[in-house]
Subunit: 398 residues, 4 copies
Amino acid sequence: MAGHNFLFVPGPSNVPNRILRAMAVPMEDHRSVKFPALTQEILAGLKRVFKTESAAPIVFPSSGTGCWEAALTNCLNPGDQILASRFGQFSHLWCDMGRRLGFDMNIIEVEWGEGAPVEGYRSALAADVQHQIKAVLVCQNETATGVTSDILAIRQVLEDLGHPALLFVDSVSALGSIDFRMDEWKVDICVAGSQKGLMLPAGMGITCVSQKALQAAQNSRHPRCYFDYLDMVKSNGTGYFPYTPSIPMLYGLREALVMLEEEGLENVFARHHYLAEGVRAAVTQGWKLSLCAKAPQWYSDSVSAIVVPAGFNAAEVIERAYRRYNLALGAGLSKVAGKVFRIGHLGDLNEVMLMGAIAGAEMAMLDCGIPVTPGSGVAAATQFWCTHEAPVGLGAGA
Amino acid sequence: MAGHNFLFVPGPSNVPNRILRAMAVPMEDHRSVKFPALTQEILAGLKRVFKTESAAPIVFPSSGTGCWEAALTNCLNPGDQILASRFGQFSHLWCDMGRRLGFDMNIIEVEWGEGAPVEGYRSALAADVQHQIKAVLVCQNETATGVTSDILAIRQVLEDLGHPALLFVDSVSALGSIDFRMDEWKVDICVAGSQKGLMLPAGMGITCVSQKALQAAQNSRHPRCYFDYLDMVKSNGTGYFPYTPSIPMLYGLREALVMLEEEGLENVFARHHYLAEGVRAAVTQGWKLSLCAKAPQWYSDSVSAIVVPAGFNAAEVIERAYRRYNLALGAGLSKVAGKVFRIGHLGDLNEVMLMGAIAGAEMAMLDCGIPVTPGSGVAAATQFWCTHEAPVGLGAGA
Amino acid sequence: MAGHNFLFVPGPSNVPNRILRAMAVPMEDHRSVKFPALTQEILAGLKRVFKTESAAPIVFPSSGTGCWEAALTNCLNPGDQILASRFGQFSHLWCDMGRRLGFDMNIIEVEWGEGAPVEGYRSALAADVQHQIKAVLVCQNETATGVTSDILAIRQVLEDLGHPALLFVDSVSALGSIDFRMDEWKVDICVAGSQKGLMLPAGMGITCVSQKALQAAQNSRHPRCYFDYLDMVKSNGTGYFPYTPSIPMLYGLREALVMLEEEGLENVFARHHYLAEGVRAAVTQGWKLSLCAKAPQWYSDSVSAIVVPAGFNAAEVIERAYRRYNLALGAGLSKVAGKVFRIGHLGDLNEVMLMGAIAGAEMAMLDCGIPVTPGSGVAAATQFWCTHEAPVGLGAGA
Amino acid sequence: MAGHNFLFVPGPSNVPNRILRAMAVPMEDHRSVKFPALTQEILAGLKRVFKTESAAPIVFPSSGTGCWEAALTNCLNPGDQILASRFGQFSHLWCDMGRRLGFDMNIIEVEWGEGAPVEGYRSALAADVQHQIKAVLVCQNETATGVTSDILAIRQVLEDLGHPALLFVDSVSALGSIDFRMDEWKVDICVAGSQKGLMLPAGMGITCVSQKALQAAQNSRHPRCYFDYLDMVKSNGTGYFPYTPSIPMLYGLREALVMLEEEGLENVFARHHYLAEGVRAAVTQGWKLSLCAKAPQWYSDSVSAIVVPAGFNAAEVIERAYRRYNLALGAGLSKVAGKVFRIGHLGDLNEVMLMGAIAGAEMAMLDCGIPVTPGSGVAAATQFWCTHEAPVGLGAGA
């Protein structure tokens, strides 16, 4: 098909040309005397992205899913109790992984469209006077529904109750797009991936492990080897890796970290919010449609799940957009399959790219018979973006 | 700035990733035994693009400007009379080059916004009973004003009058986007470049020379060497070049030719027309603005020049779009500087890319105080594209 | 440093420019309607590389190490007995992983420089009349010592004894370089990686699983999730992946498979043998040094470990080659650290590249005081290559 | 063919991966407000490479041949007398171009293998008491024979005689490899290209024009337009170009200039000399063959032309090297066709790369029956490189 594909799934996000070029390197010896400088530069940069001084960032050759598994198998013992909540496909999958790995999952069910239930966590933890719950899992940004949760509030619950459970956060579709604070929120393990806010291809699991979690890893008897934190931390300490790392991904990550620092992490978050607000204006004010996220407190700045009107099939919109307009929208998954389509608005993005996505989604909806007013989405986004001050990364001061 | 730049100047056009990758090759020996296969594949492909059996395509390491000069210096003698018309910056520049090179320029002045004046050519040629006019220059697509001319009509004038002048056509911003027919229109020299419909970076002058023109080159006494057609044709005949060619550009051109053939040249033209119609709908029905092209007969399918309302400065719109929205629009040149901005819609393009350009231009105009209705351009383009059958390259049958 | 680095570690191998370019693609939706065609093409190609009709190739976002773990955790139950042999760092590491994961490791110790001890396997298996041994591990090509083992002989032992244990083979540094036959040798799991004979960056674990092994996976109670074969096979069956795959690696793998097929897999093996023979001539006849591999039956066609004379430190040679000549040689690992340096000769390679490595290693040895005759390595390799018929991939018939 | 091609023609030279990546950029608007910064950075960098404060560097979309033409057509008048010398194919071609363009060529014939005849120039200029000679042409590095001439000596002749002729120097295969000093040597026009010491693909003519030459251009009546210096200088003064430049080549050039500065220009020259000495040791001491260059004073540090023994055809060696060993050697041109093959040793190069070329050439010669001692070339180069201190770019101090 002519022209370039517009990629608006919520990951993989668009890899900037600058990063693609940084990755197109010849291979090199990962045991050379020069190699540690690269490792150290990357780990230092990741610490700034995770906002941590003391925790250890780790990169695995894996997807983010691997980091979920690493969190569970490194720091817990077989059969340990885990408290989690489920309100979308990705929070579900982590819970399901816990079950499959043999943990005792204590799952708070929440309606899809809402986020992590602070009071639900409080009740469950308060009831656990024996401190049988060893880990608390929270999904910071549920990619399936476009819902962001309040991690600090969960931490506050643990503090209030003096509960010693480890706090594990899935920040896969938040890190680098939505604020995350490892140290300030006392997160024990943060799970992320390369293909979202970090603007890389998939294939690198990026995680961060607190000293408390590393201590727990010392005592864990759960079988593991590939995803062993201690092997990694030890090897990284010398600037190397326990097994062959991906050279292109390391150079790509280095470039991504430079880009984030050039823009400024807070400016990156501000840009994501600004862009997301424009998309939400298009959806709610322009198209008069609903977001899957039930209330503004849950709105995600990295992805919006848009509910098509009753009687229409969102999957048809997505297929039409893809086949006819070369526009990739995110599918509704599981419970919301056919009911929503998603626009990922994370990573290396600006207004005009999003205008293409909005206009393309509109054409696809119209072709499927959904009665939106032509141009209404773009008009509402225009109204937002032309009347609010642009963040640094989007031509502020132009 | 975040996100990718939207490039909508009428050249260089967007180089598809596929071509960028084809170009990222290591260098090789341009005198090797394997090299001629590449040369021959490219020249054969170019013949299909020029629609010629008998003429010789030539690629120079130069811009298209170099091919203008080659046409004049290879086939004419010092002081020869040339008939041309001027109705925009590029038709002007070719005329001016003729003057600077010492030819006797006979220039028909035409209002900018109109195209090549068939009757003007007829009068001038009819008056030239001595056949002093040795070459007739026509600009097929005036990039400055978005105006396409009727080359066949000029050929018909020459035929009607039995005038033996050579017919030189500037098809820089038409070839590969708008139909061009070397043999059928008996064009003697067609001048083109790499950075428009052929989807490559600038740096390769692409031209095609009829046997009649090569015959004239045999007799030309005009000093020339670098741009000598005969050197090129002789060397190309063995599969080589008289001086070192650009390896990346040759591989890029090979890939571009494959892409054009995969889509089908007629489908490529149909796609350009379909996309241009959507843009024109946005401009005239959505924004209620005028095109620089005075009448539909002149509308160019590769570029639209849009007149801003009196009292506004198009240069401000362009600068705003660039600095604030990362959108590159084409400037008004010379006589129309400040009066028009241009949207190039040529090369590797689809509707959603253009939607970004339309929405971005709209935001820039609004920011500059130009009273267009938000969303109106996109709405009009939507209306066109959703109600007309898509060409093959744009998801027809999806 | 000026000029390009010569990479002669035994992995990552040199990624050909053609593959680097194939990988430099924009991201795309891994859940699109078009995506399954890519998955299916790759899996079909891998089957030809593994020489299997019935087994299932699987690609994990991981290093080859991950595939070791997958083999153990998918098809065995906690505490199961495993028979293995240890004769180098990589056979050691797999044994060690088995121990760490809680299996009952029955390890045959072999002197480094020899390969898998067929009679040792026979004795151990013959003694296991209760069939407590559930899996037999063999390292086809020990990368640390440059030793290749006879997998078919091990299979024959199992057949002779009617022992039902699964046969797991580490072919990481053999697959795509040295013959491997999944079906003919009745291998149950073959473990490989992307960064060796498949000419890709590291980051993709490539494995192949027999129907018998998949059956065992149905019955395994070992905790696992990320590396679950059944999830993969089920998802791949629809053309998708259970979690986000790396788009560049998939396109790179597709290109690698095309390259292997263009050359012809048997020709690839012949080329590796021919190149290895030249290297061995340089080492033994030219330099008068010894290989770590004790006898020709063990000689590896993908990597040579070269023993430096007593009193010299191979690590100094490696560092000198790297810092002074921009040549990366492989280090001696563990037991042979300081005693050997390695030349990887696998993947996309030809004689002249190897000549650079040979001459460079020679200069580095001379600089370190090792008394080799200048030019002797190249002379011996020349003698071999100029007097033996070249395989197809190296200009046969030129 | 397997493995990478070894490119040792004396241009195009190997483009470093770093530059290939710098070139793989999306297109951009060459008339944008940000563009002049790029132009200015490049022109400032080129001034340092040309070693000039006052002259104007110019880059044309052309090959170096175009810059030859520009020199002649910008600064001279039709029929002007030019003094030049001819001692190889490239000095010949420039002379021939002068003749074709209608100048009155006064050519000193010199045996191929020698360089510019200082006394010949002196005699001719001394005889020209009327100062009819308007330009003196010298080829600094004759690529066909591997001969470097003494430009300063020619300048001294002009100074001695007080002759006002302009001094034009072809430094195509010297600039960036062999010292060149625009200001100190009072060169009026230096002609260079992108594909040699500047490590880029062909396609950019790089030239430098003194103020005296620009003054001459004001008065020249020779027809020209594409290659007009004054258009370029005027447009560059604003940061733009008179016609569309090649975006990839500009970014590639920027990176090349950064690389040259990182290494240090004098270190780059020292590296070329050091590498060339090793090659010459291989040829003369190892292979016992002769260089085309008649005496050490003419030895070129960027290319060596090697004379094969009588009775052998160098073209066969070249074809054998190419087809059988994937090694591209430079052909003998014109008078020395079949008599010499050439090894280019310019640009981004190190010892190990050259060892491949030396060993490969040796194998090809042996295959053609030329009686060189196997390994002798590498042995002699080893002897040189291992006993002389390495320059900065080659691991000095390792």
